[in-house]
């Protein structure tokens, strides 16, 4: 495919965004990112340990990938904004995947806090990619605020349940003037293909690859699903019908006439 995904001022060939967490080890993570042919990888911003060695994954990742910091684990506007500002200072990027969650059990977005956090970060010249509910109203509000993309969930983070509300996702795609990236909840390649067939511009995933029995192979499957789904969307699917419609003509078929 020669078309690009454009978010703010950045163009990407790959429509698969991958997280860097929960892999069995670092080599499998790197192999999986490679197999997924991703260009954008997400990282979290966390306190440095004052006692032990702090791993440095950025040196390894930055050579090959566009690094998208997230505000994972933030519950309040204040926490999310400060985390984003620290991310900008640490990584010299204006891009941020904005997460403001409501509680630890379902990790669902807290819209009451997400909207003002997005507003403040846009005002501070961030390119905000908000993780949000599969809710067209919320997505429209985020777009109106000035977010660079919207990232509705397929299902709760790490659940692997796949897209739970296809109608809403399709509705979000139709109304949006910014890229729609499915974020969280995909479990396997068909979930990714469905997201792309619905017209989403990309998919961000982590656990579906990291917790697969063979992460590298699953990453390859995800990359193929992205392309298959995207091509199917661009091709324009046939209409759905309630009844059969023969594909082979009846003309010239043999016809055995019953003898009496």
């Amino acid at each position: 495919m020669s078309e690009f995904l454009k978010i703010a001022n950045k163009k990407f060939k790959s429509r698969l965004f991958m997280g860097t967490s929960r892999y069995p080890n670092q080599q499998i993570m790197l192999d999986s990112l490679e197999a997924g042919k991703t260009e954008v990888v997400t990282v979290a911003i966390r306190r440095i340990s004052l006692k032990k060695y702090n791993e440095n994954i950025i040196d390894i990742l930055k050579k090959k990938y566009f690094i998208l910091p997230n505000t994972a684990g933030c519950y309040t506007v204040k926490e999310a904004v400060l985390t984003a500002e620290l991310a900008r200072e640490a990584l010299k990027t204006n891009f941020v995947k904005l997460e403001v969650i409501g509680n630890e059990d379902d990790l669902l977005p807290d819209i009451e806090n997400l909207l003002p956090a997005a507003r403040e970060l846009v005002k501070k010249k961030f390119n905000v990619l908000p993780y949000c509910n599969d809710d067209p109203v919320v997505c429209k509000k985020l777009e109106d605020i000035g977010c660079s993309a919207v990232m509705p969930l397929a299902a709760p983070i790490g659940s692997g349940l796949g897209i739970q509300n296809k109608n809403n996702i399709e509705f979000i795609v139709r109304q949006s003037n910014v890229p729609v990236i499915i974020d969280a909840g995909v479990g396997t390649a068909s979930d990714v293909a469905i997201a792309m067939e619905l017209g989403c511009d990309g998919v961000l995933l982590n656990t579906a690859v990291a917790e697969a029995e063979e992460p590298t192979l699953m990453a390859k499957a995800m990359a193929e699903a992205i392309n298959a789904g995207r091509n199917a969307f661009l091709a324009g699917r046939m209409p759905k019908r309630l009844f059969a419609k023969r594909s082979t003509t009846n003309k010239g078929r043999i016809n055995i006439v019953k003898k009496n």
Binding site: A44, I45, R47, L82, R88, A90
Partner: protein, 68 residues
Amino acid sequence: MKKKLLINGKNTFVISETLLNVLSEINLIDNENMAIAVNEQVVQKNNWKNYKIRSGDTIEIVKPLKGG
């Protein structure tokens, strides 16, 4: 006199006057991708050298780690 700081959620006592000196006093090796906030305000790296620390300051020292 020692200053009492809250660094990454832990009470820490230091004699240093500046943020950069605090880092060496607590044996934190400077890292290219480290970022610091004092009292919820980011302090840019080029200001660490001159940033004066006061007793009671809350300091967050972070870096990017694996995440989804």
